[in-house]
Symmetry: C2
Subunit: 340 residues, 2 copies
């Protein structure tokens, strides 16, 4: 069991009963973050409930701005509308630093969007920091070292996103729906637009005017913001976001065109020495990234690295897989707190 330390931070997790909130508590412990005190907040409905954590049993408290303001660092694992309403209020004047996992502030030019392996300097002096979208974070840790060395010109992504991207309810709906289909029974949908069991759904988040979904555009917008690319034309990004019947860990098939000539063997070496990435790329030994192995792992797996048949010497195809509850959410948020 993890223990609280005297010299540490008072941490609050808002939305502690959700999939990401629970992972945040777990990651604080797994990374030995110096926690002096831990408060778990949720809605009135969950207040009073005891939940078991690596720090022992903790009673959920009803969220109020006043209570949150007594923390040193507040993690928000809540909806965008909740974050919009409360994130600034929690932090204003001498309030705590707020790390928000929702998309509410990600595209606000005054708010830093941070992946600590990439742009840790953007944390400095900020009272509100945004955590990127899960699909973005997983691709970005693998693509950033490539971008720095070879310059990304075009990025084409097709995603294989797990049910837990829609929270604990998403996982539960997939489990129940799968059991129902195997038993030839019907199962009502609430989380996903269609049954996800034994199906794939090319629809995550709402559709926008350009017929891309918001999830697809998030990857483009956020990757450029985190990489510091000001002009869309300098790095063109197109995404197809697809929900698949997995529980944890998003996978992504990525094709890139680079400004400079690029070789698969060089990129394997480069990424071996890059933080947050594990090279899992030995076809002869049947080693390639998969949700089966990437789930619950901190690092993102990167493999299937090969010279692009479309972009030739200036292009690669690759496959990444990362636990979207971890690098895609809770881990990245705790890493931001570590930079603080």
């Amino acid at each position: 069991m993890s223990t609280f330390v005297d010299v540490g931070k008072i941490i609050g997790v808002v939305g502690a009963t959700g999939a990401v909130g629970a992972e945040m508590v777990d990651v604080l412990s797994r990374r030995d973050f110096p926690v002096k005190e831990l408060k778990l907040f949720a809605s009135k409905r969950s207040a009073g409930k005891k939940i078991s954590t690596p720090y022992g049993e903790i009673v959920i408290e009803e969220f109020t701005v006043e209570k949150a303001r007594e923390m040193d660092i507040v993690f928000l694992a809540v909806s965008g509308s909740f974050a919009l309403e409360y994130a600034r209020k929690i932090g204003e004047h001498d309030g705590p630093v707020v790390i928000d996992n929702s998309s509410a502030f990600r595209y606000d030019p005054t708010v830093s969007l941070v992946i600590p392996e990439i742009n840790p300097e953007m944390v400095k002096g900020q009272k509100l920091i945004s955590n990127p979208n899960c699909t973005t974070a997983i691709a970005a840790v693998a693509l950033w070292p490539i971008h720095k060395k070879y310059g990304l010109k075009k990025v084409i992504v097709s995603s294989y996103q797990a049910s837990s991207g829609a929270g604990a309810e998403g996982m539960e709906e997939l489990r129940k729906g799968t059991k129902a289909i195997l038993a030839n029974e019907k199962c009502p949908q609430k989380v996903f637009a269609y049954p996800l069991a034994f199906n794939v759904i090319p629809h995550i988040d709402k559709f926008l005017e350009n017929d891309y979904t918001k999830e697809e555009m998030k990857v483009a917008w956020e990757t450029r913001k985190i990489f510091g690319i000001k002009n869309d034309d300098d790095c063109k990004i197109s995404v197809t976001a697809v929900r698949v019947p997995t529980l944890r860990a998003h996978a992504e098939a990525i094709t890139i065109e680079t400004a400079e000539d690029i070789l698969p063997s060089d990129v394997r070496e480069l990424l071996k020495n890059s933080p947050g990435v594990d090279i899992v790329d030995d076809p002869a030994k049947l080693e390639y990234p998969m949700p089966l192995n990437a789930s619950t792992k901190f690092n993102v797996e990167c493999g299937r690295i090969r010279q692009s048949l479309v972009f030739g010497k200036k292009g690669l195809d690759l496959f990444v897989c990362g636990d979207q509850l971890l690098k895609g959410a809770a881990l990245n948020a705790v890493q931001i707190a570590e930079v603080l």
Copy 2:
């Protein structure tokens, strides 16, 4: 129940106990193919077994070249090595026309590789005709009208391939594996390299020297052959083939660059009037291609058609889904027989 007709063909299906063989018999009936007599062949092990078909109960016979030579048309739903050994022997001299579903002859320049919506003229005078790979066939019926009108320059495909691409055993292993995981039990793998339940596996068929899999290269090689594109550089194709935990119907996220300017609305109209394709593309009504709906359908569903953010006016992103046991195998084979 379907009935045999006096004026029709004597049909033999070799590999009748497999997933594709069973679908071939079903498709002959669904399309009212004029069948005078139907013989089902399999290995010695299955000989004598009665199977129920739309034409009534039929007794499986052990395959011999002599028996197969008494047919008018022979469908081979068998392995590549079996096809290599017997396909030519069945057809030689005055033997029947052989339609082979394996990859054995697809890359032989003397053998026609046919999708009837695209190159039916290649059937003429042939005694041995190859049926394309399932992933190829599903993408090709949607891409061919686009290629004819706008000229394909680049094609990038990420696939979401169903367990039945590995036959009836693949489906069974996914079902059993899923039950085992839900019950917290272990389940041995035979068909797939890793458990497929709640996982995705970026590995189909064997790895080649360029680190692409043979499945990935098949789509590139076969699409160019069927489209009559002689020079690889005229149409560059790169594929990532991924097995996902679905039972039937492969899906594919496709990004294309074209020689001419191309508009999503024009392509929707074009494909509405193209054979073998259904436009399923109304995000406001939550209409997009999915295995859930494409399974057991003859036509390939095409949707999520949008202007490419990477190739701009000369590019599109789209999503296709088709039943790979049908358009990807049995249906296409029967359509070839119809052209005969």
